[in-house]
Amino acid sequence: MTTETRRPTRQLIQPDLPEFDSSGLDPQLRAAIADLLLTMADDEFVIGFRDSEWTGIAPMLEEDVAFSSLAQDEIGHARLLYELRAALTGEDPDRLAFHRQPNEYRHARLLDQPRQSWGFTITRRWLYDTADSVRLAGLARSSFAPLADVVGKIRREERYHLMHLDAWLERLGTHHGKPRGKLLSALKQLSPVATSVFAPLPGEEMLVAAGVLSAPMADLAARWRSEANARLCALNLRPIADGVPAADGRDHATPHESFVWLWNEFTSVAQLEEGVEW
């Protein structure tokens, strides 16, 4: 046991973004951090929506409750990250989340497709959670202190997500027949796009040089692949193929039709009337 004092793992409604002064930040570095934050926030926002679709229709009531918690955590993280970006750019977090065009979102292509079967959902979440955990580890000692602080809060919750998803992966992956078949086909379909979480960012070199990010995205991708493949091989599941993350992993110039559907849903009330509160 460590001497770490127990701290609350979830704060839903009260914003817990630390106050900070960023007036001394180099404008180019500021823009690069803001861009990194947008990619992370959009990832959490989109997966949070995908997960919340299971609320009420999951395979069992216990899992309805669990997936709702995951969804809330992810939306909570998205909120923190949008707020952190907004503090750098002067934007409004809700406008960022709900008032962009579909081609302006920066989430990884891994998250583009609908939730589909429980096997597909578990596989995608496991791939995303393992990748996200490597990315968060690369930011845990960030020289941009507010980001390190926020990442610390997020990691405390993500640890439990990973435990939950890994238990499901093992349960389905070791059960021959349909469960294992569902995982194998989802892995085959998703592995090629899973590295999109590590798609190169325009300001990446500057972020690494300034110590905001510990290593280039391609290096983080390699670290993730090696860790994830160790687990997949232990379960005798298909490993993720080698290769550097594609440059267009977060490019939505032609948005995926499933994301357009999602966008139409989540903007349907928000964009009913300009300038009102909901």
């Binding site: 229709i57 395979p59 409750v65 709702s68 809330q72 429980w118 070791t174 509160e277």
Partner: protein, 329 residues
């Protein structure tokens, strides 16, 4: 609002005096009479206690209907989880619907103790053999519905549920304490959604009023027609504490003034407080509509059950996997 710290601890059967009706040497009639005296004296019945068949069947039917309602109540609101217009609303609505799933789980567990499996209760619901509350048979049409449901449907429900915290069946009474605590947070969320709209544009105010207009009828029907308390067996067994009309009056007393305060008007010209009797007068609710709806002929009854059946079938393989013996490592 319930203070969660005040929740009564769950006593093990060993920590309370042995009830008289537990004595196996008594005749059935003596045990039955002692049981009636026990519940009429305000004492609790626990899951492993001896109980008359009629009591067991009545509690099971009551709790099962409640569990079904929580489960089916998820569906109308679930549609709006994807459409919540701000990050804060998205979080609050997801948490609220999660609570309802959690309530269904708690209540099915209470019911299971009485001798019917969760799977069987689920199957009877899907087969249309058991019922769920009338309000969950109706469509949702706008964000206004999200506010009206969370505020008023939950308020009408909590009026009944608060009375169930005194239920004679101990496991149910304790579960209701937790549920009431969470429902009272839903009411605050719903009221906040409605008040925000009423402080907004004319279109937003119209949306809230239009939602209230549609929900008022089902809300007034929710607690059922007036009944003769002397003939109500659920009252006799102290499973519930109040009649439907008492609950409806409580709901009106608390919430009509609050609606008026924010500028919303229930669509009933007869609605007024009779100062002399202290009772609310209202247009007689459409009891034929209530009977039609709860027997599975409401505007969304079959669509919602079909939706449940579809997802239940699609995820059957997951439950089979979980219930199977795990493969050796």
């Amino acid at each position: 609002m319930t203070d969660p710290l005040s929740l009564a601890p769950i006593l093990s059967p060993d920590d309370r005096p042995t009830p008289l009706f537990a004595d196996p040497d008594l005749t059935h009639e003596q045990r039955y009479d002692a049981f009636v005296e026990h519940v009429h004296g305000g004492q609790k019945v626990e899951a492993r206690d001896w109980m008359p068949d009629e009591y067991r069947t009545s509690v099971l039917r009551f709790v099962e209907m409640h569990a079904n309602s929580e489960l089916m109540g998820v569906l109308p609101e679930r549609e709006w989880i994807m459409r919540a217009p701000t990050l804060k609303r998205k979080l609050a609505l997801t948490a609220k619907v999660q609570d309802e799933c959690g309530h269904a789980q708690l209540l099915y567990r209470v019911a299971e103790d009485l001798g019917k499996t969760r799977e069987q209760m689920y199957q009877d619901l899907l087969d249309g053999k058991t019922k769920f509350h009338n309000v969950f048979h109706y469509p949702t049409k706008s964000w206004g519905d999200v506010g009206i449901i969370a505020w008023l449907v939950d308020a009408a429900a909590i009026v009944a549920q608060q009375a169930l915290r005194d239920s004679s069946y101990g496991p149910y009474a304790r579960t209701m304490k937790k549920i009431c605590w969470e429902e009272s947070v839903h009411i605050m969320h719903g009221r906040d959604v409605v008040v925000t709209m009423m402080n907004g544009s004319q279109a937003q105010r119209d949306m809230a009023q239009e939602a209230l207009d549609r929900w008022w009828g089902p809300l007034m029907q929710m607690h059922g027609p007036r009944t003769d308390p002397a003939k109500d067996r659920d009252l006799f067994w102290r499973i519930k504490e109040k009649t439907g009309e008492q609950l409806r009056q409580e709901f009106l007393s608390t919430y009509v003034p609050r609606l008026w305060e924010v500028g919303l008007y229930p669509p009933d010209k007869e609605l007024k407080l009779d100062e002399a009797s202290g009772e609310w007068r209202y247009t007689e609710p459409d009891w034929q509509e209530l009977r039609t709806v709860v027997t599975g002929h409401g505007p969304k009854s079959q669509e919602r059950l079909d939706f449940r059946r579809l997802h239940h079938d699609q995820t059957a393989w997951v439950r089979q996997t979980i219930l199977a013996t795990p493969a050796p490592a």
